[in-house]
Amino acid sequence: MSQFVMLLWESPASFATTSPAEMQSIITEYVAWRERMGAAGKIIGGHKLRDEGGKHLVGSTVSEGPYTEATEVIGGLFQVSAAGYDEAVEIARSCPHLRFGRIELREIEPTD
């Protein structure tokens, strides 16, 4: 099995006008997907990154993070376990995130 990460790109303005009922139905959809994939051993972790307070470090310069200026940011990630890219792509393709943003799928380099 290989390990992948799904980087969840999205617009910071997502859900700015979402109604409470829609919010809950989006969550239900994500959770159902995560549980299905988790039970099959495909999704082995997930994190939402904190939006505010990010930093950019370039050389000795530290500046305020990407969240507020960028039109697209990495909002979170899922860790995926799959046989190869074909399967990982299938898993990512079924993720509800694609309705709200794009997914960058990367394999974690194995050390041996």
Binding site: P20, M23, E35, K48, D51, E64, G75, G76
Partner: protein, 405 residues
């Protein structure tokens, strides 16, 4: 496991979070607070979606909104030492319940600021003090999303331009509280009327209006007989909300409602509040609440005290000659004195009432009872030609189809 229901949390927490943030950041930062809370809910969607939801969602949302608000202020004024603010948002209040009540009251009064137009007051109260989303407000007010957005934008801009926002002496708070009652009743009426928004959403709106009216009537700064009368009026009407429509969404008049299904606890709240509403100025809320109480007190439609109701309508239209009140008065008169008298009252007040679908429907009803089926048919058709709300159209079509001949 989906974790705590974010929809319920949003309905419960949105206005509380905006009001607490606004209280700590100052009224001129209402917009910052509002954006921060909305963004915190957006962050919650992503958090709930990707990992385990927090144990205390209210506290998590507060912290998330607070950080965002400070972040936004920091960008606007980078020279202020905002780091002092990020550590602990003012710390726990010694009396959280009282602080929430104060903060929510301040927020209602802010949304009802006299420099805003009545339309803007309603829209802003719905958004900020009641926590409805823009698409929901658009549906409730029968407006486009963009129009609501623009209205809110203008309202916020106007509020931001003012520095005297809540620096009012006590008497002014009292007066502002009275303005707020009008706004809350307008809100309630949007939910209670024949709007096209789904019943669930309108039920939610009526409950929010009642909650805000209770907040005003309980707070020492704004408590008044008028506020209690408004609570009574909203409670009586809310007790019947679910029975106003049949299974197909058609309007059910009081005559045909199943009274055993009215909400007894709301009726009890209505009588309790009306009983405690004396001692101040007699307002239209008092009179309308008393009319609503007459209906609540009648076990059957036939038991309705129409004499008392007509008296109350006479008092009402003597002070506030609104078209809907004039129409209701004429209908009540017809119930008291018979359809001929009702028809005469309707015809006499036709200009003041305006030739609306409900006016023609009332005329048709009186004619039908007098046996003038041709006249009734014409009036039903006139009413339908004016494109009434679907709930009204449905019942008019049924009445028209049931006419003999």
């Amino acid at each position: 496991m989906t974790g705590p229901d974010l929809e319920l949390i949003s309905r419960r927490e949105f206005s509380r979070l905006v009001s607490l943030l606004t209280r700590r950041l100052g009224d001129h930062n209402l917009e910052v607070a509002e954006d921060a809370v909305q963004e915190a809910f957006g962050a919650a969607v992503r958090l709930w979606g990707t990992q385990t939801p927090p144990r205390d969602p209210g506290a998590w949302l507060y912290q998330a909104a607070w950080r965002r608000a400070i972040d936004q202020l920091r960008r606007a004024s980078p020279n202020i030492a905002w780091d002092d603010w990020t550590a602990d948002p003012a710390g726990p209040s010694p009396d959280p319940l009282a602080e929430t009540a104060d903060a929510e009251l301040q927020l209602i009064l802010l949304c009802c600021h006299p420099s805003l137009s009545p339309d803007s007051q309603v829209a802003l109260t719905l958004r900020v003090a009641a926590g409805f989303s823009i698409p929901e407000i658009a549906r409730l007010l029968g407006a486009a999303d963009d129009a609501v957005d623009q209205r809110l934008l203008r309202a916020r801009r106007r509020l931001r331009a003012r520095t005297d926002l809540l620096d009012y002496p006590d008497t002014d708070l009292r007066r502002r509280g009275l303005v707020a009652l009008d706004v809350i009743y307008a809100m309630f009426s949007e939910g209670y009327a024949f709007a096209t928004a789904p019943l669930g959403l309108r039920r939610e709106l009526c409950a929010e209006a009642l909650r805000l009216a209770l907040a005003l009537s309980n707070h020492p700064d704004t408590r008044s007989g008028e506020a209690r009368a408004l609570v009574a009026l909203c409670a009586f009407q809310a007790s019947r909300l679910d029975r106003r429509f049949d299974d197909h969404g058609g309007f059910q008049s009081l005559r045909h409602q199943d009274r055993s299904q009215w909400d007894a606890s709301l009726i009890a709240l209505g009588f309790r509040s009306l009983g405690g509403s004396t001692g101040g100025t007699l307002s239209r809320f008092h009179l309308e609440a008393e009319i609503a109480a007459c209906h609540a007190a009648a076990g059957r439609y036939e038991d309705t005290d129409w004499h008392r109701i007509v008296e109350l309508y006479d008092l009402l239209v003597g002070r506030w000659a609104r078209p809907t009140l004039l129409l209701s008065r004429a209908v009540a008169l017809g119930e008291r004195d018979g359809p001929a008298a009702g028809l005469a009252a309707l015809v006499a007040a036709a200009d003041a009432i305006g030739r609306t679908p409900l006016f023609f429907a009332a005329v048709a009803d009186a004619m039908e009872r007098l046996g003038d089926h041709d006249g009734a048919r014409d009036r039903y058709e006139e009413a339908l030609a004016l494109a009434p709300a679907p709930a009204i159209a449905r019942i008019l079509e049924a009445r028209l189809a049931a006419l003999p001949g």
